[in-house]
């Protein structure tokens, strides 16, 4: 492995001192420093630890793995809404950066990057020697073209535009002129109009797959040009998808000892019912799961499978929409009503009844201890009597609240737990359950409903997506000028220690305004049969199949 000597970001050294002094845990330390461009190996070195060894030593070359996973249709990567799609396409469409369970960002198609002190200039160094599988070189122009594509708001459903919002010119809906600059063949510089600390995290997310020039989203399997070690063999949506090794193609990762051990990866769709997955496991038709949910964790362990678990920031919010009108009034516009709702619900009960205690209790702030700049801000007390008093004071004691949820396992159960506690507190509650096929049509507009949110690496990301005024995904209808200003300030502070002070204020507003009930952080699970290595559950469900292998 070659080490590239780069200037180590000044804050990285500060963090290292903090980490050594025990003020910072290892995960936080890694997330902060690697986002600033320090390699994971160097970061481990800063705190005097050795980077974890790769599995290469125990891995066997070759073999076929069969994984239970929903097989979905391919589409333009920018518009991916399910990580399962990326599990198939990442065989040939790779990423610039990869996010790991220890919180670090590791270089993939980039070899390294540097961020300036106020996070307004990003210098991206493209990995030399990477080739597309059609033989052409992978260069800085490819990186720049992809970033410009992510910034194109005119593509319907382009969720990368949200992650790169800082680069987008509101008038044209495309990247601001001169913001994406190709310095030379192997260097791209991003000149941001405003500070943003989340771009590297955005590049590691599953819709950020790097596509070739003249990429045709309608014909992805017909013309699979990419940089990855695999090629698509078959794709039958809802049935099966197969990746096979691209024989004869010199993938950049081979030289780096990155893996890609398997010769063949089969994703087999067993529908959405976990009991069918278990039946498939018992019948030895699959070797590993995509994700194990709820009570099935115990069931699959009963048949001898191994567990991998990780505490993530994936969560559920049960939020009133402050703008929603019910019978001509806006029942949740009143802060007292929202506070009453939050006070009447014990989050620990939601975790127990909704997710069988497989997680960590949260404080309705949608920022948690797994985030680098999380501040320890107390939540509202659990006080059902006080809640009812507050509700009566607001004159809403007789109002019937309709709480909507999707029809599934844990989301429905958690929402039920909230509804039951509100009823116990004396609220007037009606529960509505909507099937998954129609639930998402209006998900931001239900007056009071639950939504699941995935893990995001940086604390400010989710606040920006879901709670900034006027955002498309702002399902709580929350609009607070002070919150927006503080969030912009937090986004300019690359140093998590400084940002924490601002985060404390932001979390305080989340609590005080009773924006949402966000009862717990989920622990996510995956199971595989014994004898396989490198298959750990990923904290953000990101695909990293190149690490999987049969044990030698």
């Amino acid at each position: 492995m070659t080490h590239i000597t780069t200037k180590i970001h000044p804050y990285a050294k500060v963090y290292a001192e903090d980490a050594k002094a025990g003020k910072l845990d290892r995960r936080e330390f890694l997330a902060r420093t690697t986002a600033l461009g320090v390699t994971a190996t160097a970061a481990y070195g800063l705190i005097g630890a050795a980077a974890p060894a790769h599995a290469a030593g125990h891995a066997q070359q070759g073999g076929t793995i069969r994984m239970q996973m929903e097989v979905r249709a391919l589409k333009d990567p920018r518009t991916y809404d399910w990580t399962q799609i990326a599990f198939f396409s990442h065989g040939w469409l790779e990423y610039l950066v990869e996010y790991n369970n220890d919180g670090s960002f590791a270089p993939m198609l980039l070899s390294s990057w540097e961020v300036n002190d106020d996070a307004t200039v990003y210098t991206l160094n493209v990995r030399p020697g990477v080739k597309w599988n059609d033989g052409s070189d992978f260069t800085a122009a490819d990186v720049a073209r992809n970033i410009e594509g992510w910034c194109d708001k005119n593509v319907e459903g382009n969720s990368m535009a949200g992650r790169f919002a800082v680069l987008i010119d509101e008038a044209t809906g495309t990247a601001v002129d001169g913001s994406v600059e190709v310095v030379d063949d192997l260097t791209v510089r991003l000149n941001l109009p405003a500070s943003d600390i989340t771009l590297i995290a955005g590049m590691a997310d599953y819709p950020a797959a790097i596509v070739p020039a003249d990429f045709d989203p309608e014909n992805m399997t017909g013309n699979p040009v990419g940089t990855g070690p695999y090629l698509p063999e078959t794709l039958e949506v809802g049935v099966k998808a197969v990746l096979v090794r691209n024989e004869g193609f010199e993938w950049w990762g081979y030289a780096e000892n990155r893996g890609a051990f398997l010769d063949r990866i089969e994703y087999i769709d067993y529908g959405t019912d976990p009991s069918a997955w278990v039946a498939a496991a018992a019948a030895d038709e699959v070797d590993m799961f995509y994700e194990t949910v709820g009570d099935f964790v115990d069931v699959v362990e009963g048949i001898g499978w191994e567990r991998s678990e990780v505490a993530s920031a994936a969560t559920i919010v049960i939020r009133p929409n402050q703008l929603a009108e019910v019978d001509g009034t806006q029942p949740y516009a009143d802060k007292r009503v929202r506070q009453a709702i939050a006070m009447a619900v014990d989050n620990a009960v939601c975790l127990e009844l909704g997710y069988a205690n497989r997680g960590v209790v949260a404080r309705n702030q949608h920022v948690g201890p797994m985030h680098p700049a999380w501040a320890d801000v107390p939540g509202l007390p659990f006080d059902p009597e006080g809640a009812l008093a507050l509700l009566t004071e607001a004159g809403m004691a007789d109002f019937e609240m309709e709480i909507t949820s999707i029809d599934d396992d844990w989301r429905k159960n958690t929402t039920d737990a909230v509804a039951a506690q509100l009823r116990d507190a004396g609220f007037n509650i009606k529960r509505t359950i909507i099937p998954g096929s129609t639930f998402w049509n209006d998900w931001t507009k239900y007056p009071f409903s639950s939504t699941n949110w995935n893990h995001r690496p940086i604390d400010t990301q989710i606040l920006g997506l879901a709670y900034r005024s006027g955002e498309a995904w702002n399902e709580a209808g929350f609009a607070n000028a002070e919150f927006d200003t503080l969030l912009a300030e937090a986004n300019s502070l690359a140093d998590a220690g400084e940002r924490r002070e601002v985060m404390a204020k932001l979390q305080g507003i989340m609590t005080d305004e009773g924006v949402t009930i966000q009862p717990y952080w989920r622990t996510v699970y995956r199971h595989a049969k014994p004898g396989i290595v490198g298959w750990d559950m990923h904290i953000a469900y990101l695909p990293q199949m190149y690490k999987v292998a049969f044990a030698a």
Binding site: A73, E218, I268
Partner: protein, 348 residues
């Protein structure tokens, strides 16, 4: 006879036309189109994006125009989208717009393109119908002989101990829906709970390679449900025949009992069950939905569920056409078969 079949075919076409128009109208209602846009574009897409997505892809045209395009009597749309890209209805994936043909509808033999599966509707329906056909064939092979044997044995001597016990069995099997018997079978024969893990609780691998082990449970689940019903019909018909004058005459002549049953009673007793058996085909086509889901066997029923769940307009239309034809053709066969079984009936 020829005229009769022609007239039946005419009815079939008319039914298919009406039904597809109804399906077309329902799937093109505004909320369904919004759902389509969100499942295809991005589940969390904004309202403006939904509108432009639909406009760019020709979904915002007038209903009769869209239906005409699907039928192939009107030229397919060519629309320059808000994003500057030109899209044509008849464009194949990877093909430039200029090369696309003008008409592409059912009349041109083009069944359309499935939005969920990103594939030709024709080939999807053919593959899935083939898989369900395989399942149905196995079911029929188990169900029909089984049901007829039980029915004939039970109906031979009405009120005997054999009759009572076989009748009880068939009533129980008919009264147990597939989603109950299927779950019971899986828990008994596919898990270690009762120490009888003889079969597989999933039929996914049976799609490529059906073995006794992975295919038996779904087959027996469907077969048992239909078997009881056919057996009851056969028994009723058999008991009636067995009381007929000519059976008594045969017995008085001294013909042996097995010979009476096989030579004289059986053919007459099979007329009623024949219709019922033919009716089982359309029922099977839709009835397999539950069993296919339960055993995760991706056949026609599964396609129907996927198409309906995702508002996949052209796939749903394809499924409807096939369903209409299966129902009406089996009825046609049953009408014609009747004539051969019962010479008293004539088709003008």
């Amino acid at each position: 006879m020829g005229l009769f079949i022609l007239r039946r075919l005419g009815v079939m076409l008319l039914t298919a036309l009406c039904l597809t128009f109804i399906v077309f109208w329902l799937t093109n209602l505004a909320p369904n189109l919004e759902k389509l846009a969100k499942t295809q574009g991005n589940a969390r897409m904004s309202d403006e994006a939904v509108v432009s997505w639909l406009e760019n892809r020709g979904y915002s045209q007038a209903l009769p125009v869209k239906y005409g395009q699907w039928l192939g009597v009107l030229p397919g749309y060519v629309i320059e989208g808000a994003d500057g890209e030109v899209r044509a209805r008849c464009q194949l994936p990877g093909e430039p717009v200029e090369d696309a043909s003008t008409f592409c509808g059912i009349l041109q033999g083009d069944w359309g393109y499935s939005t969920v599966f990103k594939d030709e509707v024709g080939s999807i329906v053919a593959t899935r119908l083939g898989l369900t056909g395989k399942l149905m064939l196995c079911v029929m092979l188990v169900m029909v002989p089984g049901a007829l044997i039980i029915g004939v044995l039970a109906g031979m001597r009405e009120g005997s101990r054999t009759d009572r016990s076989l009748s009880t069995v068939s009533i129980v099997s008919t009264a147990t829906p597939e989603y109950v018997s299927g779950v019971v079978f899986i828990s008994v024969f596919a898990t270690a709970t009762f120490g009888m893990q003889w079969f597989k609780g999933t039929a996914t691998s049976a799609m490529d390679d059906a073995t006794f082990e992975n295919f038996f449970l779904p087959v027996i689940t469907i077969a048992l449900y239909g078997m009881g019903y056919i057996a009851r019909m056969t028994r009723a018909s058999m008991t009636e025949v067995m009381t007929a004058q000519y059976i008594r005459t045969a017995r008085l002549k001294g013909v042996s009992f097995p010979k009476i049953v096989l030579r004289h009673a059986l053919r007459n007793a099979l007329i009623a069950p024949f219709t019922v058996i033919m009716l089982q085909f359309p029922w099977l086509l839709n009835g397999v939905v539950i069993v296919e889901t339960l055993f995760n066997y991706k056949g026609f029923g599964w396609v129907l569920v996927q198409a309906a769940g995702n508002n996949d307009i052209e796939l749903l239309l394809g499924v409807s056409i096939v369903s209409v034809f299966v129902v009406l053709i089996t009825q046609l066969i049953s009408d014609i078969g009747y004539v051969f079984l019962n010479p008293r009936i004539r088709i003008s």
